[in-house]
């Protein structure tokens, strides 16, 4: 690991100033991804700003009926929080589908948003990678790309975002609270992560020195009709090949509103509001679910090894919508998919 200076600020302002003052400084909280990447020499910050002792560890009620989740609430504390389990079970379920008990204990809410891709080449400094070293090339294109993107990829990068939690946050239309050198701002979740385009090195729209301080959720939705369905290469402790967060509002046997977000298929959690709109006013049926899935995947493109993901995603979307409509969400410890 490349040596670095370590500072432990006592306030958000100090932390932001510390990172803002150096182009190579980084915030660190749980460290479950950053330390991992530093040990692979993928990340080589010259200063680490330890924010773990800042007072961002609470989940508080918001005026709009929602909640504001401090950036340092651990993934485990968030998933098992009574209020979250009761009002946002989709979020709880998505978190519990990811990583392991140990990692969820250490990983923070803010850090989960900032996880970097699991692309083999990104992780292996002996190979080129446009995300790690802009301009060096993308060997995943034409190489080993079983885990790569089928939506929104570019000729420069076909990496995917690995988070499960973020898929649920996308479906729930969370808002990311950020404090930076220029003050505070709020970023709608859909605008937080970005597609690779010709700047694959940028995973998200944060500016250097900006710190995620909280994630806000709007008033509870989809408590009765939701699911998080994750498909992967072993039954636990593996990143998603495809995952689906689905939430439905239902009235009189019809869908009044729908949210569908996909994980493992793109550089960001994938939403398609037009596809969601197709479901509105409809009675749940295999046909309408298939239509929504087809719409989401209309521009999907395989890279070879991952061609199967298009079909898999279609089936996963349909199954997730069935689960949500039936009010029988996937239980993560239960490996049988209902």
């Amino acid at each position: 690991m490349t040596p670095f200076a370590y500072v432990r600020p006592t306030s958000v302002a100090e932390a932001v100033a510390a990172v803002g003052s150096s182009g190579t400084a980084r915030f660190i909280a749980g460290g479950t991804n950053l330390v991992d990447l530093m040990r692979y020499d993928v990340e080589t910050p010259q200063t680490l700003v330890d924010i773990t002792r800042l007072p961002l560890k609470t989940i508080e009620d918001a005026e709009n009926g929602g909640v504001v989740i401090g950036a340092l609430v651990s993934n485990a504390d968030l998933a098992y929080d009574e209020r979250i389990q009761r009002d946002y079970p989709l979020l709880s379920s998505a978190i519990l589908a990811g990583a392991s008990g140990q990692l969820r204990n250490a990983a923070s809410t803010g850090g989960n948003l900032l996880q970097r891709t699991r692309c083999y080449y990104f992780y292996d400094v002996a190979t080129p990678c446009n995300k790690r070293e802009p301009g060096s090339g993308c060997p995943a294109i034409g190489g080993v790309n079983r885990i790569h993107a089928i939506l929104g990829a570019s000729e420069h990068c076909i990496a995917t975002h690995p988070s499960d939690m973020c898929v649920a946050l996308a479906a729930l239309e969370a808002v990311v609270h950020v404090t930076g050198p220029e003050g505070e701002r709020r970023i709608p979740f859909a605008e937080f992560h970005r597609l690779p385009g010709d700047r694959p090195q940028d995973d998200n729209t944060l500016k250097h020195g900006e710190m995620v301080t909280a994630v806000a959720l709007p008033a509870p939705r989809f408590g009765a009709h939701h699911t998080y369905l994750k498909l992967r290469d072993r039954l636990s402790y593996a990143f998603a090949l495809v995952s689906v967060a689905a939430g439905l509002d239902m009235a009189d046997g019809r869908i009044t509103d729908a949210r569908i977000a996909l994980g493992g298929v793109a550089h960001k959690p994938w939403r398609d509001e037009a596809a969601e709109a197709l479901l509105k006013g409809q009675a749940p049926s295999p046909a309408i679910f298939a239509a929504a899935a087809d719409h989401i995947l209309r521009d999907a493109k395989g890279q070879g090894d991952n061609n199967f993901k298009i079909d898999l995603a279609r089936r996963a979307i349909q199954r997730a919508l069935e689960q949500a409509a039936a009010g029988t969400p996937q239980v993560q410890a239960e490996k049988r998919v209902n």
Binding site: Y121, G143, S236
Partner: protein, 744 residues
């Protein structure tokens, strides 16, 4: 001579258990030394070509860096490549680390950074700049099938295919039922939980104590003395605990060479631990492309068997396994042709990985047998019974024992085979399709020449020792049980010592032969003490054993007693006192019975049954139950024996569903070189495994009647799962692992 077994054959907890569960068992990277240096390997980035330059200047400037070794400055070592050949090396020219600028596989070590601390060594290693001239590389054996060849020199201990019998081609064409398919298993890496490591303790004056992750301390010892020209007395290899190996520790790996080289040159103690990613840069289960052709008459009797395999090996060694011979052994058939070839690719040399050869070959055969059962409309077990081999038709020898019929019967009963509707896709539960599949497993029962020592001290404590290893197999425990029974002592009075090159000679622990070999030697050494003890006991004034001979007494409950009248006895302690010695000892060597070996074929057998549930739409497979019925002769310790089978089965689940080292064919590099992307089964993947040990007596191979258990658990497991998936879904996947995309 008689002895009631108090411990052998009964379930015993591991004697090394309390140390292991409390974190006090010392693995090789946990030995300390004064002024210990830490070394980190720099791994090469290309698969083939040469190093054009290595720039170590920046790395050398890091405070705390002691030295950086490359091919340009490495100390002189043996020039002849045969000097690098270890005890189990296949024919060819072994890797000579840092030998010259040439690169023969991706991940080859290209430099070694040695520093005062681990963190400094790691950082400095990241600063070493290596430039290469790359040539095109081939890492997929499928691309070089045209270059396949029969290895000129056979690997020691690996039988080439037997000569063809009958007319396989003619009989195949003439048969009413026939099938021919290609089967393939992805490259797998052993990935024991403990990474390969070596700690070299510089004892001064060129003397070394080497803690090496190895399955046989004497193999590393021989390698070091040969490569570095050291005298045998100057090197001791000591590795009491090995954190798994599964074959990756049979041969000395490059970290041993590098750590010893650095220690000798710097005259300091050096510790070198590979990274998990570097665990993908040596030793793997090779990819074999197999074709199996089976033909049968309408009653299901096999008319022809053909099995061809082309297996990958490196450019520099002809690594070989027994892949196809199983197809001439497992079933009776008059017309058999078996072919086995190698093809070279630009990778490291493959290595034995749990049940090498059999995992691959039996998977293909047992998948094809399942296909034949469907083609013939015969129950898969019935088909196997119809073609049951009552003798080894490859060698034309009777089996020393073969309780395979009982395995089929007991396993079928336990899994509930009778509830199986043979029609594929006929069984459901909720959304899931349910499948039951089965396969046969087989592994050679072997014994190797092995020595052991028994030392009884005046305090009544018995120490038995041999230079074998315990890689999790339970060697410590069974040695203790056998020794305790041999002299009638309680388990607490016995200590087993292994993993040390200075102990009596033993081969590497592998091939499932350790229990039979070491166990027999331990028993012989203990028995050799009996006469001394009896003589001393009989010589005591007024001894109740006066005039007794060994065949009249028993050693039991800490006493030597007349069998006819057990009240007439002398305690071992009294006998020991009567010898007037502080210690008595004996060393014995046990060897296989060559005559029995020439007369009989000896194999362990198993019948594995798998129950799977498949969500067909999503491709999710759950292995909800495995029953493995094993006939392996005498079971020394049912508790640890069961664990051996569980472990084999779990690795078989991985082989069937998860494990795959994925090569980038452009870069010639395995890309998923870590535990996040190379999937081994996790807790969630393993539900219910039932192990049955079928009664089997076999005293042909060794006096303990042991056949060995390390390999048999995995053989056939993947086939049983694949067959169950076929039964559930109607889909026949012939390329492992069966990942969800293959079922969509």
């Amino acid at each position: 001579m008689s002895n009631t077994e108090a411990f052998v054959g009964r379930p015993q907890s591991r004697v090394d258990g309390p140390l292991k569960v409390s974190g006090t068992a010392t693995y090789v990277a946990e030995f300390g030394a004064e002024d210990l240096l830490h070394a980190v390997v720099v791994s090469g980035a290309i698969a083939k070509g040469r190093i054009t330059s290595i720039d170590t200047a920046a790395a050398l400037k890091v405070p705390g860096v002691i030295e950086i070794f490359t091919h340009e400055n490495r100390p002189r070592t043996a020039w002849f490549d045969y000097k690098y050949r270890d005890e189990v090396a296949p024919p060819g020219s072994p890797l000579r680390p840092l030998y010259d600028a040439s690169i023969s596989y991706s991940g080859q070590p290209v430099a070694l950074v040695v520093a005062e601390t681990l963190q400094v060594a790691q950082y400095a290693a990241s600063l070493v700049e290596v430039s290469y001239e790359a040539e095109p590389a081939v890492v997929d054996v499928a691309e070089v099938l045209g270059e396949a060849y029969v290895p000129k020199q056979k690997r020691s201990g690996i039988s080439p295919p037997p000569k063809p019998r009958g007319d396989a081609d003619g009989a195949f064409l003439a048969a009413p039922i026939r099938l021919e398919h290609e089967y393939r298993v992805a490259v797998e890496h052993h990935n024991p939980m403990e990474m390969h490591a070596t700690t070299v303790v510089w004892e001064g004056d060129g003397k070394l104590t080497v803690h090496d992750k190895i399955q046989g301390a004497q193999n590393s010892h021989g390698y070091i003395t040969s490569v570095f020209g050291l005298s045998a007395d100057d090197v001791r290899v000591h590795s009491p605990y090995i954190g798994g190996a599964f074959g990756s520790g049979l041969r000395p790996q490059y970290q041993l060479f590098l750590a010893v080289m650095a220690s000798l040159q710097l005259e300091r103690s050096v510790k070198l631990v590979l990274t998990r990613d570097q665990m993908f840069t040596f030793s793997y289960r090779p990819d074999a492309i197999q074709r199996v052709a089976l033909a049968a008459d309408k009653t299901g009797r096999l008319q022809a068997v053909r099995h061809e395999a082309v297996m990958g090996t490196s450019r520099h060694e002809d690594y070989q396994e027994v892949v196809v011979n199983w197809s001439g052994l497992l079933y009776s058939c008059d017309n058999v042709r078996l072919d086995y070839k190698l093809a070279q690719i630009d990778t490291h040399t493959p290595a034995d990985m749990r049940a090498p050869g059999a995992t691959l070959g039996v998977y293909a055969l047992e998948s094809a047998m399942d296909e034949l059962a469907y083609a013939a409309g015969i129950d898969p077990i019935e088909l196997r019974l119809i073609n049951f081999a009552d003798k080894d038709e490859n060698e034309n020898k009777p089996f020393s024992s073969k309780e395979l019929r009982a395995c089929y019967a007991q396993g079928a009963d336990r899994i509930g085979w009778s509830r199986r509707n043979p029609v594929p896709r006929s069984m459901h539960e909720g959304r899931e399709l349910v499948g039951l599949g089965m396969a046969t497993g087989c592994w050679e029962a072997q014994m190797q020449k092995t020595s052991a020592r028994a030392v009884l001290t005046a305090n009544g404590h018995l120490e038995v020792s041999s230079a074998t290893a315990d890689i999790g197999t339970g060697t410590y425990t069974i040695m203790t049980q056998i020794a305790a029974d041999a002299l009638g002592l309680p388990l607490e009075s016995v200590t087993a010592v292994i993993g040390d090159s200075s102990l009596p000679t033993a081969p590497v622990e592998g091939g499932s032969w350790a229990a039979a070999s070491t166990g027999t030697a331990v028993r012989a050494a203990c028995h050799a003490l009996r006469q001394t003890l009896l003589d001393a006991a009989a010589g005591i004034d007024g001894s109740p054993l006066a005039g007794a001979t060994l065949d009249q007494v028993t050693f039991q409950n800490g006493r030597i007693a007349f069998i006819a009248d057990p009240v007439m006895s002398v305690s071992i302690g009294e006998a020991m006192q009567a010898t007037g010695k502080e210690r008595i000892e004996a060393e014995e060597t046990a060897s296989p019975d060559m005559k029995a070996m020439a007369t009989y074929s000896s194999y362990t057998h198993s019948a594995i049954f798998a129950e799977v549930r498949v969500d067909e739409e999503l491709g999710i497979v759950r292995v909800t139950r495995i029953v493995n019925a094993v006939a392996a002769g005498k079971i020394l310790n049912p508790k640890t024996a069961r664990s051996q089978i569980l472990g084999g089965v779990v690795m078989g689940i991985g082989m069937a569903l998860h494990e795959e080292s994925i090569p980038d064919k452009n870069l010639g590099r395995f890309m998923n070189h870590n535990f996040a992307e190379y999937h081994v089964p996790a807790h969630a993947d393993v539900e219910d495994i039932d192990v049955i040990f079928v009664e089997e007596e076999d005293d042909m191979l060794n006096p303990l009647g042991i056949k060995g258990l390390g390999e048999i658990g995995i053989v056939g497991t993947a086939a049983a799962i694949a067959n169950a998936i076929h039964h559930a879904t109607g889909r026949r996947v012939r390329h492992l692992p069966i990942t969800l995309d293959k079922l969509l």
